[in-house]
C-alpha cells in the first residue's frame, strides 16, 4: 500500500557525536558575562577568530544579532532580561547540539539566569567566562557613552548603575580584562579549552 511503502517513520539521525567527529573538536557553550565595557564581545570575537584559524566551527551570539532579531520583542525589565537569556541559552544549546561552539556575549547580570542555562545542558557543556573588570574602569572607558547617559538618569535600568550585576561564584574561566590585553585573555581561554579537551592545539 501507498502508506507503508512511502514513509518509514524512523528518522535517519545525525548525532552530535557524529558532528564533533567530523569537526575534530567538541562543542560547548562559551558564556561570556560581565559589565558593559568589560570587553565581552571583543574577547568573544577574538577567541572565535583564533578558533576559526584552528579549523573550529563557532558562532558568536551578541546584541547585534539577537536584540534586533530573535529577541526584538523584549525590553530591559528584569522579566524581559530573564526571557532574553533563556532564549539565548536555548539557541546556544541548539548550536552545541549541531557541533558548533556557541560564544555568547551578554551582560547576563543575574546569577539565576546564567545557572538556568547551565542546567539546560550536560555537565561540561556550559563554560562560564567571567570578564572581570571594575565598574570604575568600565565607566572610564564608556565606549558607547552609556554610563554617562545612565548617570544622567537617561537609562532606567543600566547594569552597575541602577540595576545589579551578580558576579559568578563558580565561573570556569575568569579573565581579568582590566589588567590583561585582549590577546592575553584569548590565550588564557584557548589554553583552558585545550585543558578541557574541547579543542586540540598540538
Amino acid at each position: 500500500m501507498t502508506v507503508s511503502k512511502n514513509i518509514t517513520w524512523h528518522s535517519a539521525t545525525v548525532t552530535r557525536a557524529d558532528r564533533e567527529k567530523m569537526n575534530s573538536h567538541k562543542s560547548a557553550i562559551l558564556w561570556f558575562t560581565g559589565l558593559s565595557g568589560a570587553g565581552k564581545s571583543s574577547v568573544a570575537h577574538a577567541v572565535e577568530d583564533r578558533l576559526f584559524k584552528l579549523g573550529c566551527r563557532t558562532y558568536v551570539l551578541d546584541g547585534d544579532n539577537i536584540r534586533h532579531g530573535l529577541c526584538k520583542d523584549l525590553g530591559f525589565s528584569d522579566a524581559d532580561r530573564t526571557e532574553n537569556i533563556r532564549r539565548i541559552g536555548e539557541v546556544s544549546k541548539l548550536f552545541t547540539d549541531s557541533g558548533v561552539m556557541a560564544l555568547t556575549a551578554f551582560i547576563s547580570p543575574f546569577r539565576s539566569d546564567r545557572d538556568a542555562v547551565r542546567e539546560l545542558v550536560d555537565d561540561g557543556d556550559f563554560i562560564e567566562i567571567y570578564c572581570k573588570c571594575d565598574l570604575s574602569v568600565c565607566e572610564e572607558r564608556d565606549v558607547k557613552g552609556l554610563y554617562k547617559k545612565a548617570r544622567a538618569g537617561e537609562i532606567p535600568e543600566f547594569t552597575g548603575i541602577n540595576s545589579p550585576y551578580e558576579e559568578p561564584l563558580k565561573s570556569e574561566i575568569t579573565v581579568d580584562t582590566a589588567a590583561q590585553s585582549i590577546d592575553e585573555s584569548v590565550e588564557q581561554i584557548i589554553n583552558a579549552l585545550a585543558d578541557r579537551n574541547i579543542i586540540s592545539i598540538n
Copy 2:
C-alpha cells in the same frame, strides 16, 4: 593608559563567506512545510543524513528540539503559531550566518508567516520545500493518532481539520510525498541544491 592599551574596540570578525569557504558548501534555510503526516521531518532528517555523508554542516529544527525548548512558552493559537515560526526563522537565520544549513520541519500553515521568514534573509537563502500530500493520505497514515483525536474534537486547532493550511504559491521545491518514496524525495532535493550551487555532488 590602561584603557587604550587593553581594548581595541574593533572586533575580529569571521564572516559567513569565511565559514562557507571552510565548509566547502553554501548555507541556506531549507524550509519544509506541509500537513501533519506529510513526511516533513522524515524527509528533512533523511536529507540531512545524505548531506552529512557529503561532508556538509547541517542542523534540523523540528518539534522535538524547539517546542520543548525555545518555544515552550507558546501554545497553538494563531498568534502563538506566528511567534513560533518567527523565532524558528530567526534561529534559522543565525545558523545560516554560521555557515550551517538549517533544515526546518514544521507544518507552518500560514503563507504570511513563511513569507516573513523569507523576507528575513537574502534572496536565495530561503528554500521553501513543500511536502505535498493530500489530507486524505495524511489522515489515513495518522502515525501519531492526531487526526483521529482532531476528528473527535479533542484537538481544538488542528491543521487540515479545524485550522487552515495555506499551500505555498512559489515553493522552490515541491516533493510529492504521497507518491514518492523518501529516497526519491531526498534525491530530488539534493539535485535541486546542487543545481542552485549550494552543494557540489560531483
